[in-house]
Symmetry: C2
Subunit: 175 residues, 2 copies
Amino acid sequence: MFSGRAAPRAAIYAGRVGDSGNRLDEREYQVWRAFHRMHDKLALALNQHLQQDAGISESDFQVLAALAEAPRHALRARELREELQWEKSRLAHQIRRMEQRGLVARDDCPEDGRAATVRITDVGLSTVRGAAQAHAARVRELFFDALTPAQLDAFDEAGAAVLERLRQRCPAEAP
Amino acid sequence: MFSGRAAPRAAIYAGRVGDSGNRLDEREYQVWRAFHRMHDKLALALNQHLQQDAGISESDFQVLAALAEAPRHALRARELREELQWEKSRLAHQIRRMEQRGLVARDDCPEDGRAATVRITDVGLSTVRGAAQAHAARVRELFFDALTPAQLDAFDEAGAAVLERLRQRCPAEAP
DNA sequence: TCCCGAAGGTTGATGCGTCAACCAGAATAC
DNA sequence: GTATTCTGGTTGACGCATCAACCTTCGGGA
């Protein structure tokens, strides 16, 4: 398993001391740390490859991929945000940086004076097309190919349960 | 499951087009996105609570927790890095910021002129003690309590498989 | 002894992500 | 038809993370 590799150190965090309930037990603590490690290492590896291959980050890639799929290679910022589930300022900053590099462009929206539409440029399009296959292959290699079908199902289910919990418990955004 | 909630949009990324092999299928694509979403939302929620309760970030917490567990409430930077699996510059920056806020202190190491030892201060200690229980409770609430024992096992196994794969495939660091 | 390479840390630049504050246009109330 | 509120988006400040370059000290050789 994930766990059991590191020395057991969790008195504060996982606390067996005086225990006022709901702390983590040793195994949970290990699973939790390993989960973070997995995510971080995976993200790092993918980012490095993407940067190497195409000179873009995963965030760049996500934006470009969403736009490349969009009706006229453009989306209103609102839709893009919805698609990516990002905060608005995050998107604004990201788009600004990408615009500076010529990957996307911003236009005003005729129907709504407030809105902005984001459009992928030719450069952006060829960049994402060039990167997509290698990136997908990496994700497959490092993640999906490591899992048996049963593990994939289990992972999927477990993740869904957590997401559902987050939906219930966290303020998040308006309905 | 995780997947199946979003509109199927993945031609570029997951590509059924011309397919040169090893792309992601629709389900894999959805699982992948959902995995990221889960991680991001979880991390966000935990960070917000920690910030609210104790005025620290998760990174701060990890450092403080490691030091609080350590023999004399101090560790050599090298050991801390090993424990957290962080890059050295990441740790250096983090420690600098925490030192400025009075959470930790840096001392020279007598045995090795190059080394630095990081020590948790009284303030740091009471901060992390104050935060630990609520934080653990949050992790339990948002993550572990969402999972059945079987799902936890599955998650653990799947994570382990991916980590193992990463260990094999990625340069990472020297032995 | 001197030189050289490896190890332990630091620094600066830059991109990423959040928060809080802000602004303009649109909808709605009255 | 004006005041209020809501919505869509931007900005600035700040913390976080990586990379590349650097500095010191340690440990071995030749």
